[in-house]
């Protein structure tokens, strides 16, 4: 059997993090989830970090999604990153500057996100 794709998902909104984690786990992805930027950063810095794709919320306490994107892209330039933003928050342009592969605005449909993930993983 083919090894499942490994995703890192970071969001501080519990219900969103749970929804995303459950959705992608059901779709047979290997999901690592983090509820804040520091936790997410620790996963990225871990020695065995080998994520195929990262999904991060942009507005997070302490270490923002923009920071996550910058740090991840520096360490793993080829790993695609999808940024998701909340309502009335405007750091999209910063996410682009940090080389996020895609910025998705909430609300979005889960299948829409999945299509994006499939596309980015295929491009890789």
């Amino acid at each position: 059997m083919k090894k499942p794709f490994k995703l890192l998902i970071i969001d501080d909104a519990e219900e969103i993090l749970n929804a995303l984690t459950n959705f992608f786990t059901k779709k047979k992805y290997d999901v690592v989830s983090a509820s804040n930027g520091l936790e997410g950063l620790k996963h990225i810095e871990a020695e065995d970090a080998a994520f195929d794709l990262i999904i991060t919320d942009l507005v997070l306490p302490s270490i923002s999604g923009v920071a996550i994107i910058s740090i991840a892209k520096k360490k793993f330039p080829d790993t695609p990153v999808i940024a998701i933003t909340g309502w009335g928050e405007h750091p999209e342009s910063l996410a682009k500057e940090a080389h996020a592969d895609h910025v998705l605005e909430k609300p979005f449909k889960l299948p829409e996100l999945e299509q994006l993930v499939i596309k980015l993983l295929a491009d890789e």
Partner: protein
């Protein structure tokens, strides 16, 4: 003390509270990134210590660490201090001057009290950050390119300032790539005994380990229930007073009584400007002790003059409600000299 210095090493971050541990952990993880950072917290909580620790743990350590207080200068002067100017750029610009942004090149620029920066300057700062550190000094055609790690500090709620139209939202997001919150000391009393211990040792070392009496366990307990409106800076002042005057119990009595009878905006908040003895002002027993290698009449005198100036200017500014032209008249110095002194001596306006 001048408001900037090269590769200055600050104290470690002392404390065992959740907040201090979190702050230390964040520093470990982000110091190498050079990403724009904002340190939030009340006056005297240790925002500058956090900035210094970020710098010390970063690859930029050893390069310049430049600090500027955005609340102390009016817009025009702050702009010229930040970005510099060419000779003749405006009346009084007799020679070319490098801005702090350029002086901090390859190192760190600490923008203290960023919440007090005027909207037009916020726009200019945003532009500089967007362009990756490029700008033209006033009166200059040539663009200078800088690689400066911008760390900002504030005691304002910037979100609220955005709602009130006083702070640009786009600048807020650009600066807040990393956010570090430092809690007020009253919310982490468990740090107080450690801070007392650390600073008692530090002051003792300054006094060449002459026997000094550490506050008793009972005094420390009482200090832990005080609300510390001036945070760690106030604790340092109280500790110094105790070590110099020796009458710890009386000093705690005064603190706790004062708290009961006065509003929280009174004296204690002005921690840095409290009355102290002359020996203490000059720190003759401490940093400027003739027993120290670095002692010289010249340096001790310079420091003493700065401290006396700071004290007097703060006093007159407080009396005039920070009406700077009135204060300048009373002090019999020019308005411009006063503004430079406010900046150089790092005199901070009261919170509005």
């Amino acid at each position: 003390m001048s408001n900037h210095s090269k590769s200055k090493t600050g104290p470690p971050i002392v404390g065992v509270s959740k907040n201090m541990e979190r702050v230390r952990e964040l520093i470990e993880h982000v110091a190498h990134t050079g990403l724009n950072t904002v340190v939030f917290g009340e006056s005297g909580v240790g925002k500058e210590v956090v900035a210094q620790n970020l710098y010390q743990k970063s690859p930029r350590f050893g390069k310049p660490f430049i600090k500027i207080n955005c609340a102390a200068l009016p817009e025009g002067l702050l702009e010229s201090e930040l970005f510099g100017y060419e000779r003749g750029a405006f009346t009084g610009a007799e020679q070319k001057k490098k801005g702090k942004f350029q002086l901090a090149h390859s190192g760190v620029l600490l923008l203290d009290e960023i919440g007090d920066m005027s909207l037009p300057l916020q726009a200019k700062l945003l532009h500089v950050l967007q362009s990756g550190g490029g700008f033209s000094p006033l009166g200059s055609e040539k663009e200078v390119q800088t690689d400066t790690w911008v760390i900002a500090a504030t005691n304002h709620d910037l979100k609220k300032a955005i709602d009130e139209g006083k702070f640009r939202e786009d600048l807020y997001y650009r600066l807040n790539i990393i956010k570090i919150h430092v809690s007020p000391l009253r919310e982490r009393p468990e740090d107080i005994p450690l801070l007392i211990d650390f600073y008692t040792k530090e002051y003792a070392a300054m006094l060449n380990d002459r026997h000094i009496e550490k506050p008793s366990a009972q005094v420390i307990d009482r200090l832990c229930v005080y609300s510390w409106p001036g945070n760690v800076r106030e604790l340092q002042n109280v500790l110094k007073r105790m070590l110099v005057l020796g009458d710890s119990n009386q000093i705690v009595d005064e603190l706790l009584n004062g708290e009961r009878t006065s509003s929280p905006t009174s004296e204690a908040t002005n921690g840095p400007n409290q009355q102290v003895s002359l020996t203490q002002i000059i720190d003759l027993d401490g940093k400027n002790s003739p027993d120290n290698q670095s002692f010289s009449l010249k340096s001790a005198k310079k420091e003493a003059v700065e401290m006396v100036e700071r004290e007097i200017i703060s006093h007159v500014l407080a009396k005039t409600d920070w009406n700077r032209s009135k204060a300048a008249k009373i002090l019999k110095i020019s308005y411009k000299t006063l503004l430079y002194k406010i900046s150089d001596l790092n005199i901070i306006p009261p919170e509005k």
